[in-house]
Symmetry: C2
Subunit: 341 residues, 2 copies
């Protein structure tokens, strides 16, 4: 049996943290080739190429400073060279890069290649939600898994205990991917539900906006937990409506309830939503002031979800997400968060 | 069809808050007699009988000061008089009172009476967990429902939005009980699962101890949410082991995930567990200092659960709850909270 060749496509904060897990696991597992190539979007850091820094200092000084990468992780600036002959692809790039990268990758990857997406969120087109894994499948025609959970790259790099969830289509692929990521301090749970895992990761940001509104109004812990629970049920309902094979258990995994909790207590969507109510500033101003110009995922997703539900004439089945949208974009008073359920 | 006669057995903080919901709902629903008797353990408040204060000022000045009770709630110090002819019994007393009260109630309640327990927690005997509803059924031989959720009496009285869960054996009883409690700001969810609702209410306090340990160690939101999720899964596993009819959905209701969240962020068990690690004081000292001498439910339940699991030789199926017990009572270092899973 030939060895699995792993390539990581992307090397930002999350990609670098993931490469620490992958680099360590492949060294200990005879199933894998020991060297893992990581595609790095080449850029200069203090006049030096980032790939060269990574390959000599074994640290991504720009996106994950302070943490060593294993020496078997080799940074490669050319996408074709990075993924040549790969049998396992780990996608961890901003999703607008996917199309161009896949076009270049297609001719050189192994014919029995499979992939896993660590990319956060989902996309939407005129017809509705679009999974990142489906976008990649359309381009490369390979089986795809998805990984999502209550994970922050720096906490994982620091060895703090957390869990994650891998959704798979067939069990062997799920087990293979688990071997790449699982670790005593980064526990992988498996579910046969690629869609559920990804939709959770996107919709939790919408629910976190509601949690932030609730915090601003000082409604208390019981009201907040009620809204989070209602949000979890609507996440489930949404996934079921658009992906019939979704599993109820997915929502009890790290990607579901745990990620929802951490996002509704600690995340940037919650924080900006609280400030939105307290300061009455626009989302653009808050992104500028609180996130240094980065975009909030929750507001974009709230809008996409709303437009999809409206087109499909099912707004009344999702009162909580609709109310969040209306508070965020239509001037509905935030107090309505508990009244329009 | 004769009208339902409701009696409330108990008048503490939670009983008084519940009487506000019940008193209002029976007035608006032709199915019920308008007067609701509430059994009050008679005591003197500034030289005046509590029942007389309630019946003249319509306020339980001792246990729910600042909130009016509806005038159709009539305080009665004699248990037989309070429940005579009752067809619906609402139990909201400390559970050590149940046996004696039931003995007195049995001869005077209606033959087609049914009850609902708002009593928190569960009991344990040599053979294992014992539901409060089963204790009451054994005494009175009536069908029982149970109500539990992310609820704090004063927040409900203040009209803050929250949800609760009623577990029922047969649907008509569940619907009847919902009519007694449901309100726009106090939403009732129904599940055919009397055991699950009660076990959630007890075990969440154990999981909250773990959350408090995690807070003291400043492990961060992701670790905390992972431990809460693992706790939820063990709550489910425990319930399934001892009550085969339990429903998975129960854990997605207010009594499950929502109450767990609020207890792990806001409750006294979390607070004392954090102090336990930070100060290294004993539980007794902490109860004295932080709770004015009141007893923590989480520590007692952790011990009962541990002894039950040990007797049944299944400790290894519940690593999280066992670790919490060992940190709380056997001097295990709190850092092990994430290592022994």
């Amino acid at each position: 049996m030939s060895l699995e060749r792993v390539a990581i496509v992307g090397s930002g904060n999350w990609g670098s943290a993931a490469s620490r897990l992958i680099g360590k696991n492949v060294q200990q597992n005879p199933r894998f080739e020991k060297q893992v190539k990581m595609w790095v979007y080449e850029e200069l850091v203090n006049g030096e190429k980032l790939t060269e820094i990574i390959n000599t200092k074994h640290e991504n000084v720009k996106y994950l400073p302070g943490y060593k990468l294993p020496e078997n992780i080799v940074a490669v600036p050319d996408i074709k060279e990075a993924v040549k002959g790969a049998t396992v692809l780990v996608f961890v790039v901003p999703h607008q890069f996917i199309h161009n990268l896949c076009v270049q990758m297609k001719p050189v990857i192994s014919s029995h290649c499979r992939g896993i997406s660590l990319i956060k969120g989902i996309d939407f087109d005129e017809s509705g939600p679009l999974l990142i894994t489906d976008i990649i499948k359309r381009e490369l025609n390979i089986p795809m898994c998805a990984l999502s959970g209550a994970n922050i790259a720096n906490e994982i790099a620091a060895g703090k205990f957390c869990e994650t969830t891998i959704g798979y289509e067939n069990e062997q692929d799920g087990e293979l991917m688990k071997q790449l990521f699982h670790d005593d301090m980064f526990r992988v749970g498996l579910v046969k539900d690629v869609a559920g895992v990804q939709v959770c990761g996107a919709l939790k940001n919408v629910i976190a906006l509601g949690a932030g509104f609730c915090d601003a109004l000082e409604m208390g812990n019981n009201t907040k937990s009620a809204l989070m629970r209602i949000g979890l049920i609507e996440m489930q309902r949404f996934t079921k409506k658009y992906y019939s094979n979704v599993k109820l258990e997915t929502f009890m995994e790290s990607c579901g309830v745990a990620d929802l909790i951490t996002t509704c207590y600690g995340g940037r969507n919650r924080k900006c939503a609280e400030a939105f109510v307290r300061t009455k500033k626009s989302w653009e101003e808050l992104e500028e002031e609180l996130l240094g110009g980065q975009k909030l995922q929750g507001t974009t997703t709230a809008k996409d979800v709303y437009l999809t539900l409206k087109k499909d004439n099912v707004l009344e089945e999702f009162p909580h997400m609709v109310t969040i949208y209306r508070i965020a974009f239509e001037g509905l008073p935030p107090e309505r968060i508990v009244l329009d359920i």
